[in-house]
């Protein structure tokens, strides 16, 4: 799902950086101060787990691969700001050390996969958790995956419209290629991953009140 360097023009990457930078500052100040020290081991473990699940490619028919994000659980357990910072850290490490994604597109990837997706997951979870916590977590993670995927495909589609030299594939093809696996496979697997992680953390009482 990561957009690599060179696929988006500065007309998109610069505004994305400008939007993401103050949000990073605000989210770090709000969620990673000294008062949140006790939650850091769990947040760090879930961030590391997100890194691992993003490294596991799920083969998609047609010669491509996709992966989970694994950060909806952070939004559900804490808030979308925590998920945003942690996903941004994962994306930064992937870009700096492993050549996945990229530094210029970090703002776009972080906003789509770290903020919009987890934000949708958090909203969905908050709306439905009184009915069933597990069901709400599953649907939240499923919705978050769809929102993140749609956001990335919309950005790629916009880039194609602005300058096909950067992104030669039109939106209709990109959206279909990204949304079909997301709706049929990835969203379900992300939902299951989120429910399993949530259940495990609740069982060992590592996370705060419901």
């Amino acid at each position: 799902m990561h957009v690599p360097d060179g696929f988006l023009a500065p007309t998109i990457t610069l505004p994305a950086w400008c939007a993401a930078a103050p949000l990073w500052y605000w989210a770090v100040r709000r969620n990673f101060g000294t008062s949140s020290t006790e939650s850091l081991p769990v947040v760090g473990s879930l961030t590391a787990l997100a890194f691992v699940v993003q490294s596991i490619m799920i083969p998609i028919p047609g010669g491509t691969s996709a992966h989970l994000t694994g950060v909806a659980i952070l939004a559900i357990l804490y808030n979308p700001g925590v998920a945003f910072v942690c996903e941004s850290l994962v994306l930064l490490l992937q870009a700096l050390f492993f050549g996945a994604g990229g530094f210029t597109v970090l703002g776009v990837n972080a906003l789509a996969m770290g903020l919009l997706g987890p934000g949708a997951a958090w909203l969905c979870y908050r709306a439905l958790r009184r009915l069933s916590e597990r069901g709400a977590a599953f649907l939240g993670a499923y919705a978050g995956m769809q929102v993140a995927t749609l956001a990335v495909s919309l950005v790629l589609g916009l880039q194609h419209r602005l300058s096909p030299a950067y992104m030669p594939v039109p939106f209709s093809v990109t959206a279909t290629a990204m949304m079909v696996p997301s709706l049929t496979v990835l969203g379900i697997v992300e939902g299951l991953y989120t429910v399993m992680t949530l259940s495990l953390l609740r069982k060992v009482k590592l996370v705060g009140p419901r």
Binding site: P4, T47, S55, S65, V90, L93, F98
Partner: protein
């Protein structure tokens, strides 16, 4: 005389047909081949790709798709930095440059990985990533413990 005229007429029709003949030659070792694959070893098969010459960064020198094994090949006509873009419809892909040496200077393999070690990278990558994240959060944790809120 009539036969001669008919023969000339046939030759006249045949001449343009000869002009449409396509000739070919085979030269080995001239092409530059680029292989693209995911960290788990899966190739980017049948993916849209473009190659830009250092002489013209706007109009693609070569355009097509990778083959079943994720390879593309082009025959450079000038030395320099050639720009290769492989764009998957899901937004994954590669945007890199390939150094093409002048003829006779020799040109070795380069790139961001070796297919043979893909399984090793597939395992090492998450391990290194987890170690880095653990180090960052451990630092934050112990720093927070030392500074009471």
């Amino acid at each position: 005389m009539k036969r001669l005229l008919l023969s000339l007429a046939f030759l006249g029709f045949a001449a343009p047909a000869v002009a449409h003949e396509v000739l070919h030659e085979v030269q080995r070792g001239r092409a530059v081949a680029v292989h693209a694959w995911f960290p788990d070893g899966e190739s980017l098969a049948y993916v849209q790709a473009e190659v830009f010459s250092p002489a013209d960064e706007k109009i693609p020198y070569w355009k097509g798709r990778t083959d079943r094994n994720g390879w593309l090949a082009f025959v450079p006509d000038v030395p320099g930095k050639w720009h290769v873009r492989i764009v998957d419809s899901t937004g994954h892909g590669l945007d890199t440059t390939v150094d093409v040496a002048p003829p006779g200077a020799g040109d070795g393999a380069s790139g961001g990985g070796i297919p043979g070690v893909a399984p090793l990278a597939f395992v090492l990558r998450p391990v290194v990533g987890v170690a880095l994240i653990a180090a960052i959060f451990a630092f934050l944790y112990f720093r927070g413990r030392r500074r009471p809120s």
